[in-house]
């Protein structure tokens, strides 16, 4: 596991319009990490970035994306006009990664990290521009400081692409989930179900694609791990847990008082065409987690929540245990076809579906892939043009890693293996893996 604070040289957010006059430079800096950096250094860092951004506007209408110096890379992101987020990581320029390459994180992973930090911010707090300028500093501090120190980024295959891990279910179980959601929404029309997650896999989604990814990541990377930890510490599953409980707000809902602690979020639901503010309610039984939105204008009372609890609890626990049985069977099957000598990654851009040989959240060190290899995969993934709608690329590195990338419509499939073989043998092997792991998904060329 890599500790993020060590990776990140600094991270800051600025808006040049916040302190347009000379002498007001400090006002432009909305947030700066690490905190102990003195103000002079902050000013020069931000000043440099402002100059870089301006310099590039004379040549390109596209916003600045990165600045590379001999020892560092500055990754730029302008989520809203004039608001810039800059993440600085230590990565040497054009030198072979060797020896201590464990300490280097693939820049595209860090870029994704920054973008999702903003999206999470936008989900819970809203747009930068809607926050009164004088409050921005405090709000940013409150949100980003813990965010940066809590998230850890590893050089794992599953981090190269941000996707959603879907749980494939057989028809009957899937319909049970759908019926449950429909029944619930008919009985409690003010509650809209927006996601159904089992363990860390998504079964049902009621949000637009982008927001789903953000909510999914929040659940899987932040909220659920804490819950699981609590459950483990609590020893055997208590009766209450078997019947389910509200986990957002974190302490549950036991009185009218607790309702004030409900999280408010900005989300766009699948059928809507605008982002609105909602209460976010999350309920969990066994390994199943269901999220709801409630319009902020709705009057919420404790009685409704208690009724909801008695309605969901028993039904969800039945569904959860039947899904659990299926998962066990799946896991057994997967274990049979999994092989340690290759790693693969599948991604479908249309629904963000994502499947990988290294289970996400897996803490085994063997899951880490060499940064050189990740770098190559990240490059293929970002370079949409070179493969086009249908294409295949096979790359061999000096240390006998073979990286294969296939693209077919909006689906991508990558395989990494390390072996002494020739081009044809590798291509055949990849074809075999593809057929086995991705049954029914058509890739052309074969």
């Amino acid at each position: 596991m890599i500790d993020t604070p060590h990776k990140i040289d600094s991270f800051f957010i600025f808006n040049s319009n916040f302190g347009p006059k000379e002498g007001d430079e400090l006002k432009r800096i909305l947030f700066f990490y690490p905190n102990q950096i003195n103000t002079d250094v902050r000013k020069t860092q931000v000043g440099l970035c402002e100059a870089i951004v301006r310099f590039m506007t004379t040549f390109s209408s596209e916003p600045c994306e990165a600045l590379q110096t001999q020892s560092k890379r500055y990754i730029f992101f302008q989520p809203e006009k004039n608001f810039w987020m800059v993440l600085v990581i230590r990565i040497p320029y054009a030198t072979k990664l060797s020896g201590d390459s464990k300490d280097v994180v693939e820049p595209s992973i860090m870029q994704d990290f920054m973008v999702s930090s903003y999206k999470t911010f936008r989900m819970f707090v809203g747009l930068f521009k809607d926050i009164p300028p004088e409050d921005t500093y405090g709000i940013c501090e409150q949100f980003f400081n813990p965010y940066i120190t809590s998230i850890d980024v590893s050089n794992d295959l599953s981090n190269i692409i941000q996707g959603i891990n879907y749980l494939p279910l057989e028809k009957n179980s899937f319909f049970k989930v759908i019926c449950f959601i429909d029944l619930l929404q008919v009985n409690y029309p003010q509650f809209k179900c927006i996601s159904f997650v089992y363990n860390d896999q998504l079964i049902w989604n009621g949000l637009c694609k982008d927001d789903m990814l953000t909510l999914y990541q929040y659940l899987v990377h932040s909220l659920l791990p804490k819950q699981v930890e609590k459950e483990i510490q609590g020893g055997a599953v208590t009766a209450a847990e078997r019947h389910g409980r509200f986990i957002s707000p974190p302490e549950g809902i036991h009185s009218d008082e607790d309702l004030k602690k409900l999280n408010k979020v900005y989300l766009r639901r699948e059928d809507d065409n605008e982002t609105k503010q909602y209460y976010l309610v999350i309920y969990r039984t066994l390994s199943a987690t269901v999220s709801f939105t409630v319009d902020v204008d709705t009057h919420v009372d404790f009685a409704t929540f208690r009724a909801l609890d008695t309605f969901i609890g028993p039904q969800l626990s039945t569904i959860a245990s039947s899904i659990g049985e299926q998962c066990t069977i799946h896991a057994l099957q997967n274990a049979q076809i999994a092989s340690p000598d290759h790693k693969f990654l599948y991604f479908n851009k249309l629904n963000l579906a994502f499947k990988t040989s290294t289970p996400s959240n897996c803490m085994t060190p063997s899951a880490a892939v060499k940064p050189e290899v990740l770098n190559i995969i990240a490059e293929i993934h970002q370079d949409h043009k070179s493969l086009g709608k249908y294409g295949e690329i096979i790359i061999k590195t000096p240390d006998e890693y073979w990286i294969t990338g296939k693209s077919s419509n909006d689906r991508e499939f990558y395989v990494v293996m390390q072996k002494n073989a020739n081009l044809k043998e590798i291509a055949d092997e990849v074809k075999r893996i593809c057929e086995m792991q991705m049954k029914g998904i058509f890739f052309y060329p074969m």
Partner: protein, 551 residues
Amino acid sequence: MASTSKDVPTSPSGHDNTDDDLEPGASYDSILNPTDSFEEFATEMNTSLERSRDLTKKSSTISEIQSEIGECSKELKETKSSDNLQNKDEAISASTSNSNLDENGEDTDNEDDYLKSPELVNKEKHVFILSSAGKPIYSRYGNEDKLAGVCGVIQALVSVVEEQNRDILRSIITKDCKAVFLVKGPLILVAVSKSNESETQLVLQLTYAFNQIVSVLTLTQLNRIFEQRRNYDLRRLLSGAERLIDNLLIFMEKDPAFLLGAVRCLPLPEKVRENITNAIISTCHKIRDLVFAILIAGNQLITLVRMKKYTLHPSDIHLLFNLVRSSESFKTAESWTPICLPKFDATGFLHGHVSYISEDCQACLLLLTVQRDAFYPLSQAKHTISDKLRRSNCLTAINDALNRSKDLPTTNPLKHIGIPEIRHFMYKCKSTAQLFTSDPICLDRLQDYRQRHKEGGDVVKKKVEKLSDIDYVRNYREFCSKMHCACSPAKLIFRSNSLDTVLAWITNGFELYVTFDPLMEKDQAIRAVDRLLRWIKNEEKRIFIMNAPTF
């Protein structure tokens, strides 16, 4: 080394039958110094801040040669250096009055507008060269005077990163554009490009541009000028060199020789090349100060005869190609010109006798010496060589090769090899730093490209009809940069999509890039490559210079 055989994607039958262990084109002796420009790049980019500022002075190869010859080297050196000083003093005193005028700062306000003016907007690649004090020296497009503002900004960015962050500014990237910075000695070079060239490739181009300046001034003079006057306006010493840089930049965009750090040879029958070489050796072996005799035609090397111990670096030859191609005056008269070859010896000038071999043959002979007053003996030697070549019918052979006469196997190699699914290929023999492509750009097409460039250099979305060599090479850039990527290099890339299939492959001995039809099967591609390599091996004596003659 046990893995080398497996390393090869070709069927095992492929290489074992060949009579020789060496890769096609490889020989034990090379006229060129095969240092890989990518490795060089990597070491250079590793240099710390302190070292990059001060270009370490190696011992001068030229004075080494002079002392070996033993004659009058001392006197020679003295006169030369005092000469330089004088010139420079005049130049500097002239500049003092001028530079004050330049600094009225009026232009800076309009600078943004100027960059957006039709002259400059939407260019595929800008190149700016400025002094470390921020004074404009060269701009590929537009007028440097009006770019004082942008040069000031560049200088400020470079120095902020350097002084406040103790770091070196390397590049800035937007979605469609890359800006690459190179600080070399007293100069700052910047490329802002919307092309598909990688950062490394752009840095190499900037290094070439820097070397082009050194080739006109020598590094010693360049450093000394700025040591004495940081604010010096270098343009006054570089008049004429702008055109060289202009041409060099165009040349680099379309010739794969730069991409691979190799030199292309004019394909000639082995016997003809031998005759030419012998004619040069027999005429020149008595001229003691002669370091190199080089015969070139159409950016291709015909032969190179050298003083024992000394070889030329491909990039120095590229500068010579560029010089010859850019100077119309060589065509009309024999010229005597000082030339600094930066990789050979950046600190001093060689003196070159440059002339076309005859009116009916577009081959150009360069005789490079350390002797500054050897014009007449060299001129005489040239005429003797020219006569010998005419008598032995070598001129006709050169002309046939230049005109790409239909009977030659190398004129249309793909047809000759008979593998219809190969559309284009490019091969570099690493040990000799020479390359061969299936469709070398002929001179008139090159002229076209230059013409087009003069008019535009704009970003254009053109419809692809029949791809030319230039288009294929443009395509290979991405492969080349992946193969040589400093942090994650590759040995083999096979990519197929709906447009084409490309195979890029590097072994210890060669680099090969092949474009096939789309959606090519792997085993079919492997077989085709196998046949291609065998053909190159068969023709190697014609397409490559396989020996390294000396005087």
